[in-house]
């Protein structure tokens, strides 16, 4: 495009907008949902807070699992006690001896997984 064409296009007149345009826009804005910086700040901070909470849950879950495993290990005196005799001598699966320990271990794992996947669940929403 020539310079003349560009400048002519840029200088084309602007028709006056309908008289009611501004009033209609402001009337629609008056009916719009509340909009203030506090709301925006809260909205912006929410993902950050949720992310911190997710990390906290994962940490608590991991600590719970760690404490139970170490506690069982210390109580038994050696690591092989934590291995089910049904698996065999060289078994690899951790099976705590009583129901209460299993419950705490499961809760810890659940908390850990919930915290770990919290950002993914938020992303889907």
């Amino acid at each position: 495009m020539t310079e003349s064409m560009e400048s002519k296009l840029a200088r084309l007149p602007e028709p006056a907008p309908p008289a009611a345009l501004a009033a209609t826009v402001m009337a629609r804005i008056a009916r719009a949902p509340a909009h203030d910086s506090a709301t925006a700040d809260r909205r912006a901070r929410r993902p950050e807070t949720e992310s911190i909470l997710g990390g906290l849950w994962a940490f608590i879950g991991a600590v719970l699992v760690g404490v139970v495993v170490v506690q069982r290990w210390l109580a038994a005196g050696f690591a092989s006690e934590l291995v089910s005799s049904r698996i065999g001598d060289g078994g690899l699966v951790l099976v705590p001896a009583d129901g209460w320990t299993s419950l705490v271990l499961c809760a810890g794992l659940a908390l850990y997984l919930l915290g770990l996947f919290a950002p993914l669940r938020r992303g889907r929403l």
């Binding site: 495009m1 020539t2 310079e3 003349s4 064409m5 560009e6 002519k8 296009l9 840029a10 200088r11 084309l12 007149p13 602007e14 028709p15 006056a16 907008p17 309908p18 345009l21 501004a22 209609t24 826009v25 402001m26 629609r28 804005i29 008056a30 719009a32 949902p33 509340a34 909009h35 203030d36 910086s37 925006a40 909205r43 912006a44």
Partner: protein
């Protein structure tokens, strides 16, 4: 009003709106309603459509004011919103027209639509130029208006329209070729460049 004055008006209005004073947005509407309506009219070529697009663009800008980066000028941000809405409006109208069996995007259809801008232009060459731009297909017309009138770069247009820079370059190339052909009777503007 100067650009600096515009900028300070916008800054004050944006700060006031963010504090909760929604009436302050009237300053922004007053400042840009003419430019935004003209832009919407150039893209849609329909006064009612342009009014709808301009209204929606202002309301959307208000609702998404948090997304506006104050370090950048306000009008290009607002105009991108308007252009996207105008594109959507054209798509909706094309769907309605195709359902009703009407042809759009032809020179005949463009000429048949009353064009307030055409009536405002006094100079014969300017009128021929606008007639030629107005008759371009919507994508090419939008690219030409954004590039040569609004001063947006190829990358900015691509981002605004959601297409690649290659597509915008092709649209501008085709538009220039078409305009040169149509403006051949006016060597002052129609010569190649």
């Amino acid at each position: 009003m100067t650009d600096d004055a515009d900028r300070s008006t916008v800054r004050a209005a944006v700060e006031a709106v963010r504090r909760g004073d929604r009436e302050a947005f009237a300053g922004i509407v007053k400042l840009y309603e003419r430019r935004l309506y003209a832009l919407s009219l150039m893209v849609t070529r329909d006064p009612a459509g342009a009014e709808e697009v301009a209204q929606d663009a202002f309301v959307r800008a208000f609702l998404h004011l948090d997304a506006y980066d104050e370090r950048r000028p306000f009008y290009p941000w607002l105009s991108v919103i308007a252009v996207r809405l105008a594109q959507n409006w054209l798509v909706r109208r094309a769907r309605v027209s195709s359902r009703e069996g009407a042809e759009i995007e032809t020179d005949t259809a463009a000429a048949a639509t009353p064009d307030p801008l055409h009536e405002l232009i006094e100079d014969e060459i300017d009128r021929a130029l606008w007639r030629a731009v107005s008759a371009l297909p919507s994508g090419e017309r939008t690219a030409v208006i954004l590039h040569y009138r609004q001063g947006l770069s190829v990358a900015e247009i691509a981002s605004a329209l959601g297409v690649t820079t290659g597509t915008v370059k092709t649209q501008l190339f085709r538009a220039r070729r078409s305009l040169r052909t149509k403006l051949e009777p006016f060597p002052a503007v129609g010569s190649s460049g």
